[in-house]
């Protein structure tokens, strides 16, 4: 009886074992792919990658083949670079004022007039204009940018406009002849006048050198100083003041001062203009906004990145910058490293 029970249990166990093995065994896998099969797939993948590259180049990425091959490559579109340059240059010049202060112009001379039979000096005049301040605003036009080899040539039209200023006009008249002294006497008049600047167009030409700044592309300005000549333009009020100075004198004196021709003298001395030098340092280096980092913080670990520039290529479509990085960390774990597996 006992032997039968054991036989039955043994049978049951055998059946359960077969059932469990069938249910729980790892599925039978087909044979793994052969090396030839894997090579065939890699070749297919590589052919598709080459076709993709050709499609990208055909779509306009002409300079991709010339880009410096490096650990990190950055390609900045020339269209974007042009947009940055255009906006920076026009933005800066759109906020530029030229201010002349405490300028003095002086003119003196004699006035001669026919007295009975011959010409005689009837008086000396001294005309002083003190320009307390005259200010002009620059208005930039649309710059022309031409990308060359490692440079961008820039031509920027600039319009000098919207000037205004205040000045003091001082006239001294010293009558010389007896008759002149009798009919006019001496005059010493000071009047406040206003004016503006004569609008004028200028053209600024220079370039930005496209340079490798170690971790980014930098555009370095190369512009000469720009000489601007500001011509002060007396306002209607100023001419009215001059007219008034003459007219408010006695008739004889008015005639003498008319001989001075104050308006012409004033226009003459102001018409020579004033030189202003716009220094080249008005242009600043422009760092393009994508560059290589010098360090990284990863989970509290500071990684130092040693950047070695690998090249800079200025193409029609992109500015390419390449750099190789060496990574080091102060707390890098040491120990044996597993061999790298073959890469699919």
């Amino acid at each position: 009886m006992r032997r039968r029970l054991f036989a039955l249990l043994g049978l049951l166990f055998a059946a359960a074992a077969v059932f469990a093995w069938l249910r729980l065994r790892r599925p039978t896998l087909p044979p793994p792919p052969s090396t030839a099969r894997l090579e065939e797939l890699k070749a297919q993948r590589d052919a598709l990658q080459a076709r993709f590259r050709q499609a990208v180049i055909a779509s306009g990425e002409k300079s991709l083949a010339d880009a410096p091959r490096a650990g990190i490559m950055i390609g900045i579109p020339t269209s974007f670079t042009a947009s940055v340059l255009e906006q920076v240059v026009t933005g800066l010049f759109g906020e530029t004022t030229l201010t002349l202060k405490n300028l003095k112009v002086h003119k003196e001379g004699q006035v001669r007039a026919k007295m009975l039979v011959r010409k005689k000096t009837i008086g000396d005049y001294v005309l002083d204009v003190q320009i307390h301040q005259v200010q002009g605003l620059l208005r930039p036009g649309k710059p022309t940018l031409v990308f060359g080899r490692d440079t961008v040539n820039v031509t920027l039209p600039v319009h000098l406009a919207e000037g205004h200023g205040e000045a003091t006009l001082h006239l001294e008249w010293d009558s010389k002849a007896f008759a002149a002294n009798l009919v006019c006497g001496d005059v010493d008049i000071t009047r406040a006048v206003t004016g503006g600047v004569v609008p004028k167009d200028y053209e600024i030409s220079g370039s930005f050198a496209i340079a490798n700044a170690g971790d980014a592309i930098i555009l370095r300005p190369r512009f000469p100083d720009l000489a601007v000549r500001i011509f002060v333009d007396p306002s209607e009020q100023a001419w009215a003041v001059v007219d008034g100075v003459v007219k408010e004198q006695a008739k004889g004196c008015e005639m003498a001062l008319n001989k001075v021709d104050l308006k012409a003298k004033l226009a003459g001395i102001l018409g020579r203009g004033f030189n202003v030098k716009i220094p080249q340092k008005i242009f600043k280096p422009i760092r393009l906004p994508a560059g290589v980092r010098q360090s990284l913080q990863v989970h509290g670990l500071e990684l130092a990145l040693h950047v070695t520039p690998a090249g800079l290529v200025v193409a029609n479509d992109r500015l390419w910058y390449g750099a190789n990085l060496a990574v080091s960390s102060k707390t890098q774990p040491s120990g044996p490293k597993a061999p790298a597996p073959p890469v699919p």
Binding site: P32, P33, L38, R45, S59, G71, Q87, T97, L296, L301
Partner: protein, 245 residues
């Protein structure tokens, strides 16, 4: 009645009475599957590029080589991780694979028993870079582990299966401990230009705001390409100009 206990134990152990597939065979199988995925993804990408739907020209292109990514991720691999209180897992190396429009990562790791340090196993963990984004001027992506394989073990088949189970249950948590891959590039959000106060000539400083958004991620040709949509402007004037010496 010792027989039933023996019988139950034997039944439990039975499924393990099959040899683990050799690592080379497992790797060949994984490689075949991965190449199949790459080919399928590339076919889509090629058709997108050939039909003119892939725009790149006005975008900033950043390309990171597999080697540089390997150095970056390798230098920041997490220290030893304890899984389930039983296994110490150490990441030994990483191999980024930027091919066939797939940004994959293959980690090599070793596992030791917490109580029996002499019991070791070698694992291969696979995953990829996902969730690419720009955060505060940094281009970053998340490492996500997807699968793993115990390559060889001194633990025996049964303990190897236990290890597989432990790693499987903790795969997501393990992935979270691997730092995100930060691309080693700085992306400025504006270009600030100083003004000038040279007495006669005064120029106000200004700022050119920049807007960068992620447009495409293309892991092809052993390089991870990231294309950024970028807009500049309009120019904004700032407060004061620098005093010229």
């Amino acid at each position: 009645m010792r027989l039933p206990a023996f019988a139950v134990g034997a039944l439990v152990l039975l499924p393990a009475c099959q040899h683990r597939e050799p690592p080379e065979a497992a790797r060949a199988r994984a490689t075949e599957a991965f190449l199949g995925t790459q080919i399928a993804d590339l076919q889509k990408l090629v058709s997108k590029a050939e039909s003119g739907q892939l725009s790149s020209q006005d975008r900033i292109a950043i390309g990171l080589s597999e080697e540089t990514a390997k150095a970056l991720i390798g230098a920041s691999l997490p220290p030893e991780q304890v899984i389930g209180g039983r296994i110490r897992l150490t990441f030994e190396s990483v191999q980024p694979i930027f091919r066939g429009n797939n940004a994959a990562l293959l980690f090599q790791a070793t596992a030791h028993g917490v109580r029996v340090p002499s019991a070791t196993a070698r694992l291969e963990l696979g995953g990829g870079l996902t969730n690419f984004r720009i955060e505060k001027g940094t281009l970053t992506s998340t490492v996500q582990l997807a699968h793993f394989k115990v390559l060889d073990t001194s633990l025996g088949e049964i303990a190897g299966d236990v290890l597989e189970g432990l790693v499987r249950d903790n795969l997501a948590a393990l992935g979270e401990r691997i730092p995100a891959l930060e691309m080693p590039v700085h992306l400025e959000q504006s270009i600030a230009i100083a003004g000038l106060d040279a007495g006669v000539v005064v120029t106000k400083p200004g700022v050119l705001p920049l807007e960068m958004t992620l447009a495409e991620v293309l892991p092809v040709g052993e390089r991870l390409w990231v294309l950024l949509e970028v807009k500049a402007g309009p120019w904004q004037k700032a407060a004061a100009a620098e005093k010229s010496p």
